[in-house]
Amino acid sequence: MRGQPGPDPEPPPASLRAWALSALCVVLAPLVLDSGLSMTLLSQMGIAIIACLSYNILLGQGGMLSFGHAVYTGLGAYLAIHALAAINQGIWWLPVSLLPLLGGLAGLVAAAVLGFLATRKSGTVFAMITLGLAELVGALALMFPTVFGGEAGVSANRVSGPAFAGFDLASDLQVYYLIAAYTLVCVAAMYAFTATPLGRLLNAVRDNAQRVAFIGYDPQRVRHLAFVVSGFFAGVAGGLAALVFEFVGPEALGAARSGSYLLFTVLGGTTFFFGPVIGAVLMVLSQVLLSELTRAWLLYLGLAFLFTVLLAPGGLAGVLVHLGRSRRGPWRQRLPVLAALALAGALAGSGAAALLEMLYHRQLDAALGLELRFLGLRLDVGDPTIWAGAAFACAAGMVLLIRLRPTVRGWSDPQAQASGIGAPPGGQR
């Protein structure tokens, strides 16, 4: 491996005060958001936060791009749901609130076995192997319906067994607090992991595996250990999901689930510890709310992802940190340009979105009539002038963005430096 070492690991922007504040938010959130929907959303966010952070141990901290993270969350979920079913039938005794730990164990064992194969390589070959292994596990799961329930999945009832420390999980609130407790502990543990010698070595392996080998550590072993740690937390997330939904189906192991962990972790930002938290929140919001709002949501996600990779490799967290830093610097002079950029982006984005929405409407909902509601407007899909107008808005916004690019070029550097993902240029081939 040639090339310079990658960016220095960011000093994580978190203090005791930030931790206490977020813990307080988590505890108090149900008082404000007490509807059934928001309870479910918050619970799912907690699970997604654990899953995305565990994914980022691989991608952000280890430079390992995995296409099979759902295998570990999924196997954790399956073990947890089977244990729950056994508790239901009285075959087995264990407090239900400890089941996520059992899920974590499943994730850990699976990651130890499969990770041994995958972490023999790094970079893009690692990615290909994780994809193959994920397909293998997914196909095997469908082949053994007695264990994995086939297409129908496995279900069980979480309100059973003795209550543990007052938790019987009968109400949504109790489920929320169980998940909140697990989330806080897991996030703290994963944060602490970044500061352990293994965590630091993992960053070193990401940046320059050859040097790590030269100092006397085995990069393959470091990757494998990190993979196992990540698998454990993924399994915990899977076990929690099994408790919340009381059902686990084959899609829990599927490529689509793995892909969404990857997509939202990158959207949130892999270079900062809290990036995947933003990504996880977005994941739940878009899967539950955005998918209701528009049928083109997957396309928007794909475009947002591609633009993130191209223009803001540090993800949303990178952009936020960059804005926070430049507030102290030449922020005031940049304000007009930033405003112009935002306007141009909004123009291009809304034009493109109008075009897409009209296209989707014409292709899928033509039977519902020609009218489409978009951003409070009523658009007539049959009217060519509206199409031309949307195309014009989109093109004008694009031209403005391209015109503004030279002014911006100088300042994106600190962000680009802070947000190199994975290996430095000229990694292994």
Partner: protein, 330 residues
């Protein structure tokens, strides 16, 4: 015997299609280090472009035009997106192509719908290439084309082999022969091979390296699209076709040895034959492995077929991590 032969030809033609796909992937990977996750997306796009062009123009012009169009799109993606993430390393490049695969799938579903479209091979390719006659008047025989009806009066005597399957293998062979000639016998091929091993020197000699990389990416996607036109007309043209081959071609590349064209060839044929034979010789697993018990014993070989490539991947990773023909690099 007839089943053996038909399975063999079937497996070879499917393997050659896999190779046509993985050749593009390997070409791009060995030149640029980019693992093109959207490769199967370009395969799907090729099938849909072929379907659309075959309507007004007919199948044969579509077979040429669709790969060219998709190749241009691929080159444009390289120019406008990949080139900008290149300085950041290979993982961001992989991420960019992952995003593209998402977008391609959604766009295809938007334009052509979620249901399969009926992309049929032209009449010339719809017939029977040859028929195996077992126990006929002249013993076992091979007829070119369909066998006469009197030969096939008895049930289960004739085994026809469809023309389009044969055509699939033939086009794959032709395209790959052409690629090999281009790379080994022409001046542009010389420059491409030089750029693969000595990019800085090639640049110093005054060749436009970014242009070469753009063309290589376009050529790789065009190969995928060619496979798409053939595969789409032989099998089914539907949005799920990308996911169907997507992970298999990665397995091919890893099993063959990353970056090795010869290894990809071997691995494609191996996987093609493995899958075809598992489906062709459908027998309970118990017959092959008498000590199998429980759920394993109830499985048949055909049920196992989708898993076989991935099992092969695991075996290769354990016993020969560099791949069948790969060089040992860590």
């Amino acid at each position: 015997m007839a089943l053996l032969l038909v399975s063999l030809v079937n497996g070879l033609s499917y393997g050659l299609l896999l190779f046509l796909l993985s050749a593009g992937l390997t070409l791009i990977f060995s030149m640029m280090g980019v693992l093109n996750f959207a490769h199967a997306g370009f395969y799907m796009l090729g099938a849909y472009f072929g379907y659309t062009l075959a309507g007004p123009l007919g199948f044969w012009p579509a077979l040429v035009l669709a790969p060219l169009l998709v190749g241009v799109l691929g080159a444009l993606f390289e120019r406008w997106a990949l080139r900008h993430v290149h300085p950041m390393g290979h993982v961001p490049e992989l991420l960019a192509t992952f995003g593209l695969s998402f977008i391609l799938l959604e766009l295809v579903q938007l334009v052509w719908g979620r249901a399969p479209v009926s992309f049929m091979p032209p009449p010339e390719l719809q017939g029977t290439a040859f028929t195996l006659v077992q126990g006929g008047e002249g013993g076992d025989m091979l007829w070119w084309g369909a066998a006469p009806a009197d030969q096939c009066a008895e049930v289960n005597r004739c085994t026809p082999f469809p023309m389009n399957r044969l055509f699939m293998g033939a086009v794959a062979l032709l395209a790959l022969g052409g690629l090999w000639l281009l790379l080994s016998r022409t001046r542009i091929g010389l420059v491409i091979r030089a750029a693969q091993s000595q990019p800085h020197m090639v640049r110093a000699l005054g060749h436009d390296l970014p242009l070469i990389l753009m063309l290589v990416f376009g050529a790789g996607t065009a190969l995928a699209a060619l496979a798409g036109v053939i595969g789409g007309s032989t099998f089914v043209t539907e949005p799920a076709m990308a996911a169907g081959v997507g992970s298999i071609i990665f397995v091919v590349v890893v099993v063959g040895g990353v970056g090795s064209l010869g290894g990809a060839f071997l691995a494609s044929l191996l996987i093609g034959l493995l899958q075809t034979f598992a489906i062709g010789f459908d027998m309970p697993l118990r017959d092959l492995w008498p000590s199998a018990s429980g759920a394993l014993a109830r499985l048949t070989l055909a049920q196992l077929a989708p898993v076989l490539p991935y099992l092969l991947l695991v075996l290769v990773l354990v016993f020969r991590p560099q791949g069948l023909l790969g060089r040992r690099v860590d």
